[in-house]
Symmetry: C2
Subunit: 455 residues, 2 copies
């Protein structure tokens, strides 16, 4: 048989010592964030009241190709990294495909996803700046869990605004965060002005991610020694997540394999951006070619049906404007179970790369995603998160195309996390009562019409 | 700093190719199973109607020191093994102890525990014998989950009788099993004679593990092509679980460390027996000395407060008699959240070793266990299962003793699994409403009085 093992592990001293900043290799940089009041491009200092200073600088840094990973962050990475690159021998056999399938598995840590890679970095910079704590919002809870692990490690206070419906329906995620010492508040709450206002306007509301963001930002800016942190979309997050792609590339190099195709699920872009960064870097420098596919839910298709325009990052319209593929900040995604993929916009870096043709995008239906998830779980052992399963679905489709053509392509995909806290969704699928929601053209046109008219 | 990495990984070709059978090195073999009707020792053939033939032989095999791991099982092991031996640097630092703490982490697979090591072996022998499927019972659900993963892999039918109260209160475990294609039936059910009888006698009963065992055994023996499988207590299970100890030993050898102390939680004995096997082997052969500590819950203290006598393995009194440390087959353990440690008896192998002084035992209170679990989670990242946390509690206590004495002992413990499905228990602990239950001497004397009078 092949000499490639099931799990390609790097050794601890092969964990990257610097994050790769793909913006440094981009000829056309991502469009700058704009002040929503003045329409002027923001400088790093403009972000200091909201974000840590070091993170604000990373957010604006379009020039430094490598940014050293601090020693304390590297030590933490060693508790759960390097993550394995797995050769999916069992899936290949089940599909009868000549393709070679690899997946980078980021779920082997208690937060259950790749989110921890950025959470620990953000907590570190907050600690270094001498802050007391951080605030954030969480929907499905993966980011909140990751952040509470990171803040517990550095002894920081952690205040999480959790969308009320998730707070009530996902009590287990909430308890993980509490076990790590975080304060979890259902949003909208009575703690903040914006929360009180929304509770007054919409009594009994279930809350929304947009509202939770607004509360977390207000909480950060009105308490001494606090800053706001975010788990996706931002350039700093993609920077930290480059550790995924760097390890993937190193592991492939170790066994002498060149990827033909790289597939990742895309919500705000944190996983996809991190996974593809070093590969896209080679494309940008003209060194290599890869076929890159972003997979998004048919219920929230920013790339495939959105527009590349300036838009608000939050429904509350208090955050900066970003030029990105968006469905409009008022777009209300249907209740898809992949909570991590329900964002209306997309990382500005990925938006720029997509616009220039460095990657493709496709959207998939929820029931097809769960069918792929189940097939994968049964042969590869891992119960995947619904988000990750979007990439699985397309990887399987591509492997089946190879079966028809006879091509032995090397397909690499990102398996971002585990589905242990998504069993309500699996139950619906098992019971045959899962729906597919696809927005109409009118829905999308209506919310896009409300984007600010800039550029 | 030290050259020992955070995670000591073996390579795939260092996975053991044979299980180690500690009975071969025991001068005094575990007492034989007896026929509950005649009181005669059982032969392997006597077990064929219930267990697969190969597993029945393994159950009785007191002589072969090594039993080859079949290639198909090894292939499956490669999907999640070798499991890491982790140096708990962060915990050591938090405790300020000179001790070196290591843990063997068996939770990095979807079943979430070490149970998969035996499940895949048992499913393999069932497949090889040409069976259609297997039946089993599950309480908390770890074993049922592991078995459903294993049967899915080999394309076998899997019928799980799940204690009714768990079926209703742990719907997520149930859904994992269903996702892997298992049929999960709340017990007592109307599928079996014994289930119907119990439902008639005790209308509305919540069920019990003893009852679920009886139903699973009846289902196995009354359907063509089915056998019963069990996840702990049995000699065959300890044999398969020896892979834990063999890898632990190999990893320690790799970094030149000799364990001084080995700690494991003990319910039926599957994890502890597997972890300590090769170390006890060295003690039995007079090659080395180790301090071995079994940790059990104060609510179900088989070793520390039970008797070493012949007893029934099940409350229904249909299974063979085993000589073991037991609290009596009618003992009703209080509702401790470590469901995997609520068995009234103990592996006959471990019982014999304990009786001869090869290991010590201690019992710990539930609230102390969860305090240790939380402390561990916050510094080591992993959210531990309540069962595993019994070992964590004692490892921390021992490390703190080292802090007083200044000894740099090498403490190794087994971290059997993750607590993602135990968050109701964590919530109780977080809310400060967790109880400790300790049986009275009268409770134990009463149930012990009902043991059969043999030997």
């Amino acid at each position: 048989m092949s000499e490639i093992p099931y799990k390609i592990y790097l050794s601890e001293n092969e964990i990257p010592s610097a994050w790769y900043n793909v913006r440094a290799d981009m000829k056309n940089k991502p469009a700058p964030l704009l002040n929503p009041g003045t329409g002027e491009p923001l400088k790093a200092e403009d972000l200091y009241p909201i974000f840590c200073e070091e993170l604000s600088k990373q957010e604006m840094n379009n020039t430094d190709k490598w940014i050293d990973i601090p020693g304390e962050v590297l030590d933490f990475y060693k508790m759960y990294r390097p993550s394995p690159l797995v050769r999916a021998y069992c899936l290949e056999k089940a599909l009868g495909t000549p393709a070679h399938i690899y997946y980078k598995f980021e779920g082997n840590n208690t937060s259950g996803s790749h989110k921890l890679n950025s959470a620990i970095a953000q907590a570190y910079y907050a600690k270094k700046q001498g802050l007391k704590g951080v605030t954030t919002e969480t929907g499905a809870g993966q980011w909140g869990t990751a952040l509470s692990m990171a803040t517990a490690y550095f002894g920081l206070d952690c205040q999480v605004y959790m969308v009320k419906v998730s707070y009530e329906q996902k009590p287990f995620r909430r308890e993980v965060m509490r076990t790590y010492g975080a304060t979890v508040t259902p949003s909208p709450s009575m703690n903040t002005n914006v929360g009180r206002k929304i509770n007054e306007e919409f009594p009994g509301t279930d809350g929304s991610l947009g509202c939770a963001i607004s509360e977390a930002v207000e909480a950060a800016t009105t308490q001494e020694g606090y800053r706001y942190v975010l788990g996706s979309v931002l350039n700093q997050v993609l920077l930290h997540q480059s550790v995924i792609g760097l390890e993937t590339k190193a592991a492939l190099d170790k066994v002498g394999v060149k990827a033909d195709m790289i597939i990742g699920c895309a919500g705000g872009g944190s996983n996809l951006g991190g996974l593809i960064s070093p590969f896209v870097g080679e494309m940008l420098r003209g060194e290599n070619q890869y076929e890159i596919i972003a997979v998004e839910p048919a219920s929230c298709p920013s790339f495939t049906r959105g527009s590349f325009v300036y838009d608000f990052c939050d429904t509350g319209r208090v955050c900066p404007l970003a030029k990105m593929y968006t469905l409009g900040s008022n777009f209300m995604p249907a209740p898809n179970h992949a909570g991590g993929l329900r964002y209306h916009g997309m990382s500005t870096i990925l938006s720029q790369l997509y616009d220039e043709g460095y990657m493709k995008a496709t959207s998939v239906k929820q029931t097809d995603v769960f069918a792929a998830a189940e097939q994968f779980a049964r042969v590869e052992g891992i119960l995947p998160a619904p988000e990750s399963s979007h990439a699985i679905k397309v990887a399987i489709d591509e492997a089946l195309k190879c079966k028809e053509t006879g091509e032995a392509k090397n397909i690499v995909f990102g398996l971002t996390g585990t589905g242990y806290f998504d069993l309500v969704a699996y139950q619906k699928y098992n019971d045959g009562i899962m729906d597919d929601y696809i927005p109409t053209d009118e829905d999308i046109a209506k919310s896009l019409a409300q984007c600010p008219k800039i550029g």
